[in-house]
């Protein structure tokens, strides 16, 4: 992250001069803060949600023929999952119900999450929302959307007017 244009930063570093105006000094301090944060987090894995993890993590992958949305829903009854398309919005909602009766129980460890979930993703114009297939296997929901066949690049001829 860099808030100062590169050339300007170089020039300042070379001269070793501190900017005179208090505002410029504040700017520099803020810059140093951002730089330090960037250094600090440089080695952190980027695929690991540090904060504000979405309730229902989703992977969206594209191949030459399909766009595939996969969601991990272990322990969810497929009958409790509702998939709908409105315009270009694909919505997955459902509920993960507690898989045991809860009475007179002593919990040693509680890490799994239960409850309702909902997630919406905007589909690109290259897919055909009428050609959607959804499967559920071993706790993984796979929604496969066919791409439109008429989106291949076309050549447009420029004619003389």
């Amino acid at each position: 992250m860099n808030l100062i244009p590169w050339r300007q930063k170089r020039r300042r570093e070379q001269s070793g001069l501190r900017p005179a105006s208090p505002l410029a000094r504040l700017h520099d301090e803020m810059q140093a803060l951002f730089d330090r944060f960037a250094e600090l987090t440089a080695g952190w894995p980027t695929d690991f949600p540090l904060a504000g993890a979405p309730l229902l993590p989703m992977n969206v992958a594209e191949t030459s023929s399909h766009v595939t949305v996969t969601l991990e829903l272990p322990g969810v009854d497929p009958a409790d999952v509702d998939i709908s398309v409105t315009g270009d919005l694909l919505t997955v909602r459902g509920e993960k119900k507690l898989d045991r009766e809860e009475k007179k129980q002593d919990y040693h460890l509680v890490e799994r999450r239960f409850g309702s979930f909902e997630r919406t993703v905007r589909l690109p114009s290259t897919v055909n929302p009428d050609r959607i297939d959804a499967t559920f296997k071993n706790g993984v929901l796979t929604i496969s959307i066919e791409k439109r066949s008429d989106v291949a690049a076309r050549k447009i001829k420029v004619r003389n007017a």
């Binding site: 993590p57 992958a61 594209e62």
Partner: protein, 133 residues
Amino acid sequence: MATETSLQKRETPLAQTEPVRSGPIYIPAVDIVEKDDSLLLFADMPGVRAEDLDIKYERGTLTLYGKVEPRQDAQKTTYWLKEYGVGDFCRTFEVGEGIDAAKITAEFKDGVLTVHLPKAQELMPRKITVKTG
């Protein structure tokens, strides 16, 4: 109360317990519930096939390992969103002596592994009948 029926998370490196495959290994989310006669362990392992599960009990250590096949051909796929990683699951637990290890059973359904760990007979609550003379 720390009884012998406890099931402790083990903090040892995961790589020690299993031959390491390339790629990341994930720790499954687990619930452990104590019932009168057993401990129940639930582990979320989405994407694992039942035949790719490897559950081992050895010298007081319970190891859960689930092999996960890649969901897409990485060569031919572009990811727009990658909010979770896909890889094998592995987690180990230390099982107390109050568990009857010979009777541990497991089942797998819809990505959830359930392990039943029955308590040893001598630790089960017993009702003592009072004889009248």
